[in-house]
């Protein structure tokens, strides 16, 4: 039985497609995405606030992701540094390595890697959890027990990702830089203080601000996509898998698009 309540209309008032059937469906989807986002921004301010659930999600999303994301960040720091060395060595400029990895990690790799891994780990979890809650009528159960499921499930998760992904990005960036330092230290015998001097010499406040803003946007995207896909998943067990899968794919895709757009904006700001 198809019980999707986003599809009003009766036999007596048959819908005519505004464009084509398929195009209409895309626009309806877009409208639903817009409404979902708008609802988040409306409900995030309204009481009651589900603090306990927010904390629980922060714990799940932030703290529980830390080991995985830190490890990945560390390895990427080492690998990236190691692979960048030869091209700088051609110019005899390996002393520029800290500056190079600083710019790469703080501007791009830190936020991006964190977001991508979180999209994989957190996005899929949110999509699957909400999807299965939709399928087993837990979301309906919440609604009929007069608890706003959107607030309890969506707002708390989106808030948690929006807050925790930036925090994770801080850790990833630090740990990646430490990985880079380890590699630079082994090969160029650079001391920690010199390394970090060069790291901070190469970046500006704009870089830190841009990265923070970026990771906030990435976090919001991951939470939003996971929640939207899960919350609106179709009935049936396959709907859960689909929700989890498309959460990851869509979130990653959007993250890259956002990265591209934000880069353009930041470069425009930098030019002034």
């Amino acid at each position: 039985m198809d019980l999707d309540k986003n599809k009003p209309g009766t036999a007596s008032s048959r819908r005519r497609y505004v464009t084509t059937r398929r195009l209409d469906r895309i626009f309806v989807e877009l409208a639903n995405v817009y409404r979902f986002n708008a609802r988040f921004f409306k409900e995030v301010w309204l009481p009651p606030y589900e603090f306990k659930e927010i904390i629980r999600q922060c714990y799940e999303i932030g703290v529980r992701s830390l080991p995985l994301i830190s490890l990945t960040g560390f390895i990427i720091g080492i690998v990236f540094t190691n692979q960048s060395r030869p091209s700088l060595a051609d110019f005899g400029a390996t002393s520029l390595l800290p500056a190079l990895i600083s710019v790469a990690i703080i501007r791009a790799i830190g936020p991006l890697v964190t977001a991508l891994i979180a999209a994989g780990r957190v996005g899929s979890a949110i999509g699957a959890e909400l999807g299965s809650m939709r399928v087993t009528e837990q979301i309906d159960a919440m609604e009929v027990s007069a608890t706003n499921p959107f607030k309890f499930l969506v707002v708390s998760r989106v808030l948690a990702t929006t807050l925790m992904i930036p925090a994770l990005t801080m850790f990833t960036t630090l740990v990646s830089l430490l990985g880079g330092y380890l590699n630079v230290h082994q090969n160029e015998l650079t001391s920690l203080s010199v390394f970090f001097y060069q790291v901070f010499d190469a970046i500006t406040f704009l870089d830190i601000i841009a990265s923070s803003v970026k990771s906030v946007i990435f976090g919001y995207t991951i939470g939003m996509v996971g929640c939207y896909k899960g919350y609106n998943s179709s009935k049936g067990t396959e709907g859960v898998g689909k929700a989890a899968n498309s959460s990851v794919v869509t979130a990653m895709f959007l993250i890259f698009i956002e990265e591209l757009l934000i880069m353009q904006v930041i470069n425009t700001i930098r030019a002034f």
């Binding site: 039985m1 198809d2 019980l3 999707d4 309540k5 599809k7 009003p8 209309g9 009766t10 036999a11 048959r14 009651p48 959890e129 299965s132 809650m133 087993t136 009528e137 837990q138 309906d140 159960a141 919440m142 609604e143 009929v144 027990s145 007069a146 608890t147």
Partner: protein, 259 residues
């Protein structure tokens, strides 16, 4: 299988739910084609019908989960379709909804599941009072020992009982059961049936029970209506309904008992 003794406390003068001319369609498929229904105070009303005939749609419209296309749905004197979200929530506190798959929150223990509505809607309660209430409803469904278990550790019947306990915890006036015996073994079915009757007595609720299980219908129904082709075809006690010569009613009966 014995038919239920009709509850003597039914007040035929007080309608808790009154539905007139209800229509609902999904895309171009009309599920409910003008349904009229009254639920009297203290009554157990069974809605019989095959899968996909819109039984669940009916109680989802009553609880405001779905919107009716046409017709009026009056619950406890309020027109459900016209309520603002806050008013609807207030009304929902008086309605208990037992879902087909119990719909227990997987990520929470039984205690947290039961606590969930209490924390939000019985804010005046102290922690001790809450604990008492939880114990009381768990005892009512006979599963006090499961209090610290996760839903995944429970059997289907147990989950169903916890689901019913969770809806009872706010002491609703109306209970809506969606396929309470679906997917359960016969003995568990009987247990659930008697639980539904106990709830009716202990908590003095009026109930609508959606089912395609005739055993269940006979065991819990004070009155039975049959949903066929989007409309109620027969109404009365179990025996009255199946006295009909209507082919569809008979095939339904045969399917259940002779198969």
């Amino acid at each position: 299988m014995e038919a239920k003794e009709i509850n003597p406390n039914i007040d035929r003068n007080e309608k808790v739910i009154s539905i007139r001319g209800l229509k609902k369609a999904f895309d171009d498929f009309e599920v409910l084609k003008g349904v009229d229904l009254d639920l009297f105070k203290g009554e157990n009303l069974v809605v019989l019908g095959r899968s996909g005939t819109g039984k669940s749609v009916l109680i989802k419209i009553i609880s405001g989960l779905l919107q009716a296309d046409e017709g009026s749905v009056n619950v406890l004197g309020r027109e459900v379709g016209a309520l603002k979200p806050r008013e609807l929530d207030a009304l929902r506190l008086k309605i208990g909804f037992s879902f087909q798959n119990s719909a227990l929150y997987d990520s929470m223990t039984v205690r947290e599941n039961l606590e969930f509505p209490l924390i939000r809607h019985a804010k005046h309660m102290t922690e001790a009072e809450r604990e008492d209430t939880i114990q009381y409803v768990l005892e009512a469904v006979g599963l006090l020992q499961a209090i610290n278990q996760m839903p995944s550790e429970l059997s289907g019947g147990q989950r169903k009982r916890i689901g019913i306990a969770r809806t009872l915890i706010l002491k609703p006036d109306i209970m809506l059961y969606d396929e309470p015996t679906a997917g359960l073994d016969p003995i568990t079915c009987i247990e659930i049936n008697s639980l539904i009757n106990e709830v009716q007595e202990k908590f003095n609720t009026s109930s609508i029970i959606i089912t395609h299980d005739l055993t269940c219908a006979r065991a819990v129904g004070d009155r039975i209506v049959m949903l066929l082709d989007g409309q109620f075809q027969r109404e009365g006690t179990f025996d009255e309904v199946f006295e009909s010569n209507d082919e569809r009613v008979q095939s339904f009966y045969n399917y259940n008992f002779i198969d």
